[in-house]
Symmetry: C2
Subunit: 196 residues, 2 copies
DNA sequence: TGGCCTCCATACGGTGCCGTACGGTCCTCA
DNA sequence: TGAGGACCGTACGGCACCGTATGGAGGCCA
């Protein structure tokens, strides 16, 4: 676990480890001396590469932002928009993506360093999903609504998977659950009898 | 803001303030000396009512758990299950419930003090929603699936409202969005044309 | 080989918080 | 009115972490 290092460290090494810690212990876990210990180094190394602790936090956040961007572009290799959505949903619903970083950041969404990054990532994702819905044939307003609904479902799924994974085990094993999610999002509304 | 206090403090006063701080700064924000300052007191008072910091955290969590229980029983005054669900969804979707406590806890779901509380609350809520779906007429498996989906949408909605509220402003102002959410959940699936 | 520059360890002072010790105040009740 | 207990302030030691100062090891090049 980083104890047996013999080479020198780069700023990227610190940023990468900080991102790992962010996923494990949240934003507050990014502390210089503990991470130095994980890397088998001391603060002396850190303060040569970075000005202060804040710089490390920002580096980890920047790293995460570009990871999320990579995931989006990787999803683009599926040309058919409907298939792309199904694939996206499947990856989310059945994926073992216990994305700790996501959780850690959502918990500190009000932090002045986190907020802008989280805003950009959220905007980017929503726009991507909305565009995909639009490519299927929904008009702009409907596409945006469905994108928002889909994204909230995604966020909640990640959360639930991290707080009570066993509550999720049964539905995730059932193919009907996946169809329930997809059907509600991908098909046009037909107005059903309801009051008011 | 608690500065001009002249009466004595009770353990409940400390727990209540700790719960507020939990919503503002997250779990790590629950610190004895800062909260003492907010209450216009000192640690001397705190350590009379509590054994240590952990006890304060647990008290705040217990308080939150019973608040959530109160919300559930309040929802029970609506007898018709379908109406009850619509009302529940409406409160979530349109409600200005920027529930900071919820966010703060989800961000520390792995904490040994938080985990069991969060598990119980999640279980309780899922069971309640599933029972309501069952009362509408869904069989147990379907009811549970819809409850899980609805709850993930709720969690995600809360998250999104706290990270990028303006992305949510348009849909929430549109009554069609609410119908989209409800329709996908409350109506039986009809299998639609999709591949595979 | 010797000087320079890069990278890092060690040592130090400073800060915010925890928990304890102890003394003081006010309220209660006989 | 005085004794005892409930409640709280102050002072202290300890810990974890931040950031700085300084010197030393090792590569690069004349």
């Amino acid at each position: 676990m980083g104890v047996g290092r013999d080479t020198r460290l780069s700023a990227d090494d610190w940023a990468a480890e900080a991102l790992v810690v962010l996923g494990e212990k949240g934003l507050g876990g990014i502390a210089v001396e503990p991470i130095a210990a994980r890397l088998g180094a001391t603060k002396g190394s850190f303060y040569w590469h970075f000005a202060n602790r804040d710089a490390l936090v920002e580096a980890a956040l920047a790293r995460w932002e570009q990871v999320t961007e990579g995931i989006i572009t990787a999803m683009d290799e599926e040309p058919d928009p409907q298939q792309r959505l199904r694939r996206l949903f499947r990856q989310v619903v059945t994926g073992a993506t216990s994305n700790g970083v996501e959780i850690g950041l959502l918990g500190n969404a009000d932090d002045p360093r986190v907020a802008p990054v989280l805003r950009r990532v959220t905007q980017r994702r929503l726009r991507y999903v909305a565009d995909t819905f639009a490519a299927i044939g929904f008009d702009e307003r409907a596409a945006r609504q469905r994108a928002v609904l889909a994204y909230t479902a995604y966020l909640g799924h990640v959360q639930l998977a991290s707080t009570a994974p066993d509550e999720l085990a049964d539905p995730m094993a059932d193919p009907d659950y996946f169809e329930l999610v997809v059907n509600g999002l991908i098909h046009p509304v037909r107005h059903a009898p309801h009051d008011r």
